[in-house]
Symmetry: C2
Subunit: 711 residues, 2 copies
């Protein structure tokens, strides 16, 4: 069809092979079909290169889309040979070349410098990356005059803006920085100006220190590959990272990029993937959307890249099954073929993993525990005992989220933001993000004295991190434990979370031991964020006839106190979420108070979602909140079926706890468990613990033991 | 495999043909596969015939399931020839024969007489029907002794209970009565005792008057086929109705049952189907679940029956597409083959229809209007201007529900009940069903003086019905209008609902003109039940720091007054539900007050779902609530896309209204509509109306006209 050519990210051989997939039911075939339908639909709209608009407004969206379709149509021209795609790509690029310099710079709205098309330079870089990719696919088809015009009036001004005018932003170790270097390198490659590739790889100074891709990937990730802002930001940075890595591989093979720094590219992709819930949605760590998942464009590209350059892995194929498509590129082709070669692809069941944080891996960790029941359902437990997460961090160290039966059960609120919903403050972060979403009380953990960890001070929080105690990620008894020192002055916290598969129970039992120590008496609020309908409780609740907020600050001002009552020895609340029942049982006493809350107080613009929580309040110096969550039964309203709405666990007792150990008893129908945890920071797998509570001696080896009396 | 035989509802030829579908991808093939998997899974559990338990408890559920699987396994024995199914069916039947008479009668819990297996005779009849069907499939395989035992110790006692002990319940024109006669007839046929067939068809007296199937189907349905309790109850009655009709067809062909009474069987099935939303879910008219849909077993059976005995119809095939299966029976075979014969089956797009109520069709009607936009999305409007609906009726005459974009937008609460959720009051109706769900304020209409229609008195309500004014069910301007006289003393109400396809709008525009007339001043509360997040409003809302309920009675005691503010000339509220934006604009003034409410007040057991409404309050004698609802834009959080969050309509003005006519103006971006409605009960399609408001004359022919100034 055309001369043998090499675009920035595909060569002729790959193009030929991708062509063979047209019309096939392979992942690549289906991806191509989607790409064609999507691109054709867009091409059917009137071509428009507008001026300025607010973020989320028409022009903003249109520029974003134009950039995306320049790339898509460019690739489709090479793959299908249909010149309509080249013509469309050329028309758009020529219009941008004509208009770009005539557009003044946008107004600056935040710390990000403004571009000409967008308010944020970041968006301009995303646009440049896609426009450059599209250009590289059709440059041989353009006339020399057209090429000249596009380069001189569009790409060079953009490159100058990035590398000269805003050079301070280009040389920056930051996730936005990856977009900057990737777009400049790809544009440089597309227009044949290699200096841009090199300054993007090595930084403006060329020293691989202050900036450039190699410095970034060396410094942004922990040894585990974890990115400190969490998966929501990671998946956004991974897109240019993966594309740039593929470019380095093609243009600078001598750098052996996929083995660079102990395979940091592969490791960080895998770390990101390993945070996802079984349904592919990312836990909303830090400021994050509740719905971002592995179908995101960046994750699709990263997974395809991983499949090509790293060893085959069943879970990668399982994730491709969730994604249902691949990157239309040589990498995606490899993944598509590996997928086709298997008879049956199972849904992914990722191993439990502890991802360390900090450049040296010594700033705490994020723990992910997964356990499958015998019907294949995966329970996933996430605990944050790592770093704060910079400007987007939430004050929730030792917080947890919990997922099973295809839903998040103990829930993260996510960010206070309606992304791109223009009437909601231009789609930007809302005040309630600070006043509620990032506060400690919005999470699943203990709030002390109705305040916030580190007094909601980012600098204080950034200087601290959780301290890992143990992590056991295999078998039918898994668990993790960590400490947080002085996140509230004078208070030491330790949380130990266990998942136990028990023959009497349909799903793993979650055991939560949240221990606080202080020399002073404090008010401890143990909170669980749940969703659904309360089915029963053994607490005599006083339902308020008039609702007041739970407090005046630190997020409490947004919580309605809906009902409260004296706790029981074992406080029990059951609720129905979707098709599943959950029962929480917590060791308590009538000195404790249970509150049922709902968000929405002091929310004049209805910015918050209306959500519910349980808060168990206690005054104490040293205290252990010992709870279990049982997952049980089945409800299907449409067919009017309900099974096992009550569950089997009946009691949870604290035998004793101190700085050395905690001993708990859990019993119910056919269940009698003793849980023993070593609380000493210097414990090892070999530690022999012997401790006496109430004239009874408990002994075990290692961090923990669970003994079952009846089974 | 076995001798040529005829079971109650299948003959050898049908069995042979169904066998041919095993392993095929046809609807019948897939239905068989599901039936086999489901039955095999159940057969893998230990066989158990328990005693008594509360409703929703183990024994209750187990008996229900046993009955169902006796039938399923029986049919599978004939279709697959595998004797394991016959053995399983025989084992269960023999255990029931052994135990049945030893079980005492259950305790009576409501007006329904108790059975031995269940608290309600109704459940016993359902069980009998399925057990008889299963028996009829294996009786030739059983030994004479086994047959004798099952008949003498199980079926005869059941038949005696139905037709002798509880004869008053057998001869009853009621939806439960259909289960009684169907189960007795099917059992009679299965054991070869024809008298039971005849008494079931003609009643115990044999006069086709007080009881029996023919009397029931003659008297239960309106001429339109509508069943007064609404689709939730209709779909439950349709299951035995369809099975009994098939039995009559086979055993008493001389009755020509499918042409009986002007094809009442076909008509009532079609009426039931024609209420469903585009996604197959039934609007929750009266006490009803929000999730009951056409995948219900009864609807699957009825659709298959319809497909065999009535003319082919594209929408029947479209509904089969939603159901994804057919009745495993000769009727289902016909539907499966008709389905296979088509190349492409579209989703159903049912015509708009007005279903009259009352035995003579003169007790008002239920109106269903459907309009498709140019992307194929169907907007459906439902208005109740018929009868009260007996004991399960809600006090919501002139109430509406509205559906588009695959979701219910203006919502019905449904019943206050957690069906089969044992800890929630045994799964029975909750107090909140009366105190909230059935009250006028829980619906989408006007509540007068914070009371309830007909003072929540069923007898008063049963004596009244809505009065139809007009119904226009075709084209790009559709509408319906009706009156309600004295549902509040001295107040006449008229509601006119229009759907208009307008070239400037992505979806049909809903126009709602709710007019009230009285000689006294009243408080009128116009309420809309919505779901989702408020995006913007032009009302300065005072958000309360302390929440109080909206009132003390008639459902108001369950509503929190979350926020309130003075209305605007055009009061506007936009919200986001799922992936779609909705904007409500209503002609009002600063004398009116807008309230934002949330359910949950005075709900000590968390029995209510937490839901939201908008209430526009006005003091007036004669008043017109003129509103529009615009459906616009698109939001997808996962991909962070938002389009057109504001919509195009800007104003709605009332030009004038009185008993003769209402004139309204609606305008916005590229939109300037004048809506003219004739309010006179004696209007016809030929009426010429000329009326003057504000020195301007408006003239049109027929019930209504919509003029567009700019298009």
């Amino acid at each position: 069809m055309q001369a043998n050519l090499s675009t920035v990210l595909m060569d002729q051989e790959e193009i030929n092979e991708i062509q063979q997939e047209l019309g096939k039911a392979s992942l690549m075939g289906k991806s191509l079909e989607q790409l064609i339908i999507d691109t054709d639909n867009y091409m059917a709209l009137p071509l428009d290169v507008p001026g300025h608009s607010p973020a989320g407004g028409y022009a903003h969206n249109k520029h974003q889309q134009n950039g995306k379709y320049i790339d898509q149509a460019g690739r489709l021209f090479l793959i299908t040979g249909d010149e309509k795609y080249a013509q469309f790509t050329a028309n758009l690029l020529m219009q941008y070349a004509d208009k770009y310099l005539k557009l003044g710079f946008q107004e600056q709205r935040n710390t990000n410098p403004p571009g000409r098309l967008f308010h944020q330079l970041l968006n301009e870089h995303v646009w440049l990356l896609y426009a450059s990719l599209g250009y590289s696919c059709i440059s041989h088809w353009l006339s020399a005059t057209q090429r000249q015009e596009i380069i001189a009036r569009l790409f060079i001004p953009l490159l100058d803006m990035s590398t000269v005018q805003y050079d301070f932003d280009f040389d920056r170790i930051h996730n936005h920085g990856i977009w900057a270097v990737a777009s400049v390198a790809i544009c440089g490659a597309a227009i044949g100006q290699d200096k841009y590739i090199d300054m993007s790889i090595h930084g403006l100074k060329g020293d691989d220190e202050e900036g450039g891709f190699l410095a970034q990937i060396s410094k942004l990730f922990a040894p585990s590959g974890y990115y400190m802002e969490g998966p929501y930001y990671h998946r956004y940075a991974i897109r240019p990272l993966a594309m740039f890595a593929e470019l380095v591989h093609r243009f600078r093979p001598e750098l052996d990029i996929f083995n660079f720094k102990d395979q940091v590219i592969g490791k960080t992709i895998q770390a990101m993937l390993s945070t996802a819930y079984p349904n592919g949605v990312f836990p909303a760590l830090n400021d994050a959307s509740k719905t971002m998942d592995i179908k995101d464009e960046g994750v699709i590209i990263a997974l395809s890249l991983f499949a090509k350059h790293y060893p085959e892995n069943e879970n990668i194929l399982g994730m491709a099954k969730i994604q249902e498509r691949v990157w239309v590129n040589g990498c995606g082709l490899v993944l598509s073929k590996a997928y086709e070669a298997k008879n049956k692809i199972e849904m992914p069941c990722l191993p439990s993993v502890e991802l360390n944080e900090g450049r040296d891996g010594d700033k705490g960790a994020q723990g992910f525990i997964r356990m499958q029941n015998n019907t294949g359902d995966i329970s996933q437990l996430v605990m944050n005992y790592g770093q704060h997460g910079m400007d987007h961090g939430h004050f929730d160290t030792l917080g947890l989220t919990y997922f099973n039966n295809n839903q998040e059960v103990l829930r993260e609120y996510g960010f206070g933001r309606w992304v791109n919903v223009e009437p909601k403050f231009g789609g930007r972060y809302l005040d309630e993000n600070k006043s509620y979403a990032r506060q400690t009380i919005a999470h699943n953990l203990v709030t002390v004295d109705a305040g916030c960890q580190n007094s909601f001070d980012i600098n204080t929080a950034e200087a601290k991190h959780g301290e890992p105690h143990f992590f056991i990620g295999n078998g039918n008894l898994q668990g993790m434990s960590a400490y947080a020192h002085d996140f509230y002055p004078g208070v030491t916290q330790q949380r130990t979370l266990l998942l136990v598969n028990h023959e009497q129970l349909a799903h793993p039992l979650l055991i939560d031991l949240f221990r606080l120590s202080s020399e002073e008496t404090h008010q401890y609020d143990y909170a669980l964020q749940y969703e659904g309908q309360i089915v029963r409780t053994n607490v005599e609740l006083e339902h308020h006839n008039t609702l007041n907020s739970m407090g005046n600050d630190f997020g409490y001002q947004h919580l309605w106190n809906v009902a409260q009552g004296k706790a029981q020895d074992t406080t029990l609340v059951s609720w129905l979420q979707g098709q599943s029942y959950y029962t929480w049982l917590s060791a308590s006493s009538s000195d404790d108070t249970l509150f049922c809350t709902r968000t929405g107080a002091n929310d004049p613009s209805f910015n918050l979602r209306s959500e519910t929580s349980l808060v168990l309040r206690r005054q104490a110096r040293n205290s252990l909140f010992a709870s279990v969550i049982e997952t049980h039964g089945y409800f299907n309203e449409a067919i009017e079926a309900s099974l096992d709405a009550r569950g089997k666990i009946q009691h949870i007792n604290i035998i004793g706890f101190n700085d050395h150990a905690s001993i708990i008893e859990v019993y119910g129908e056919g269940i009698d468990l003793t849980i023993m945890v070593n609380n000493a920071p210097d414990a090892t797998v070999d530690s022999q613990t012997t401790i006496e509570f109430n004239q009874q001696t408990y002994s075990w080896q290692g961090f923990l033991a669970v003994e079952s009396k009846r089974s």
